[in-house]
């Protein structure tokens, strides 16, 4: 045992009460529109080529949540993440899936970046600079310079003793707004959503991010449940942005 052979993100195509995770892993190393998540407010679908994906119109004022999320396994083959509703009413939306080959040696951290250079976002800066993006930078009046992406994680997925942590269906914490976020890391609550089922966190690189509460047991497969709400606002810079959700882990 050493590194995990497989870590991927799975998405729920069923309901919150009866989730469907089978065959829903976002595989690694996709290209040309495959193996990616896409978001839409209107006009999204399950057979749209990546190059034809609809633009999202910015609100005239204030902010609004992105209301639908899709996962594509090929350029024109996708599924809707049925429990992503742009709010906190569903618990089983996404999950990190780990096989039983890894031996983690520290807690894990999750954040959002513009791309895999992991360049620190420039809080509040629109338009963003090189290796930054409009979503993770946020904007002063739209998001109080937190990220437009809010997220939440449940426990550490697997406890040090080897117990899988799985949330019940239903509401997740306090409904995030576009300004939700805490500087630095917020550590998850064991067997619960962030802040004991209260405030969410902003996804802004490793300056606003989430840390797991425990080091998962070695050599044990598990799932770490996560949910997002993505906002756009009147002051976000228009363009094509492809932020990434980054999981950092250590192994011996």
């Amino acid at each position: 045992m050493a590194d995990y052979t497989t870590i991927n993100m799975q998405y729920n195509t069923g309901t919150d009460a009866s989730p469907t995770w089978t065959g829903t892993a976002i595989a690694l190393s996709g290209s040309a529109g495959a193996n990616e998540l896409r978001m839409a407010i209107t006009g999204g679908g399950t057979s749209i080529a990546s190059a034809s994906w609809p633009f999202m119109a910015k609100p005239v004022s204030g902010t609004t949540a992105v209301t639908s999320l899709y996962a594509y396994t090929a350029d024109t083959t996708g599924s809707q993440v049925a429990t992503y509703t742009g709010d906190n009413t569903k618990a089983r939306v996404l999950r990190w899936n780990f096989d039983n080959t890894g031996n983690p040696v520290t807690v894990m951290q999750v954040g959002f970046f513009a791309n895999n250079t992991h360049t620190a976002p420039s809080a509040g800066t629109q338009p963003p600079g090189t290796n930054n993006d409009a979503f993770t930078n946020g904007q002063s009046s739209d998001t109080s310079s937190t990220s437009y992406i809010k997220f939440n994680l449940y426990g550490s997925g697997l406890t040090a003793g080897g117990s899988q942590e799985t949330p019940a269906a239903g509401t997740v914490g306090t409904a995030p707004t576009a300004t939700t976020g805490t500087a630095g890391s917020v550590t998850t609550t064991a067997g619960n959503w962030l802040n004991a089922n209260a405030a969410w966190q902003s996804g802004q690189g490793f300056t606003q991010y989430i840390t797991g509460v425990a080091i998962p047991q070695t050599a044990t497969a598990f799932n770490w449940y996560m949910t997002w709400v993505i906002f756009i606002g009147a002051n976000i810079t228009a363009g094509t942005w492809t932020p990434v959700c980054t999981l950092q882990y250590s192994y011996s």
Partner: protein, 194 residues
């Protein structure tokens, strides 16, 4: 052949990733780059820190811990780092990785490999060498952390320069942007007995 080539089975400049190597008090050398027979599976696999050093307590016999690093723009022939281990149970090794999965194609990235030794068993202070795959370079116990905001070496609250290769096993720090602080190491898993 010299020691490094013996350990790796090839010249240092031929490797494309870093490997750990150890000398035990028995005189035996073990290197991650070499294969061993897995009697359970009937196959060969590379030597593994957890299975082949920690699980059988051979980690307590380490008297030298090496990191053999690939060629890079700053070290065209590769690089080596060596820690002499005077106290059993103070040597450790681990790696850092990341997975990106989201609104673009998914990737898995090897970020860094770290060897270290605990220098103060009461506080957990340690010296480490870090091969940073993204920076393509070896960070030593005397390397300073660069602060992109001030464009100078990073300082702590007391104004003291922070060295990337001097940290603590109970609160392992970040050495560059893009790496979150790692926090406490799982001591048993990395081989620490203090």
């Amino acid at each position: 052949m010299g020691l490094i080539e013996d350990l790796l089975g090839c010249p240092l400049y031929d490797i494309t990733r870093p490997y750990w190597a150890v000398k035990l008090s028995t005189g035996e050398w073990i290197c991650e780059a070499r294969l061993k027979t897995d009697v359970y599976r009937g196959t060969e696999r590379p030597f593994d820190w957890s299975n082949d050093l920690v699980a059988n307590d051979d980690v307590l016999k380490i008297i030298q811990l090496w990191l053999l690093c690939p060629a890079s723009p700053r070290s065209p022939f590769g690089n080596t780092a060596r820690l002499t281990i005077e106290e059993p149970g103070t040597a450790f090794q681990f790696k850092v990785g990341s997975v990106e999965s989201a609104i673009v194609t998914s990737t898995k990235t090897f970020q860094a490999q770290i060897i270290g030794k605990v220098t103060n068993k009461e506080t957990g202070d340690c010296d480490v060498f870090i091969w940073d795959e993204i920076q393509r370079g070896l960070i030593t116990p005397t390397t300073y952390i660069y602060d992109s905001k001030t464009r100078s070496a990073k300082r702590d609250a007391n104004g003291t320069l922070i060295r990337a290769g001097q940290t603590n096993v109970y609160n392992f720090h970040s050495w560059r942007e893009g790496i979150a602080p790692l926090g406490q190491l799982e001591l048993k898993t990395v081989g620490i007995h203090i």
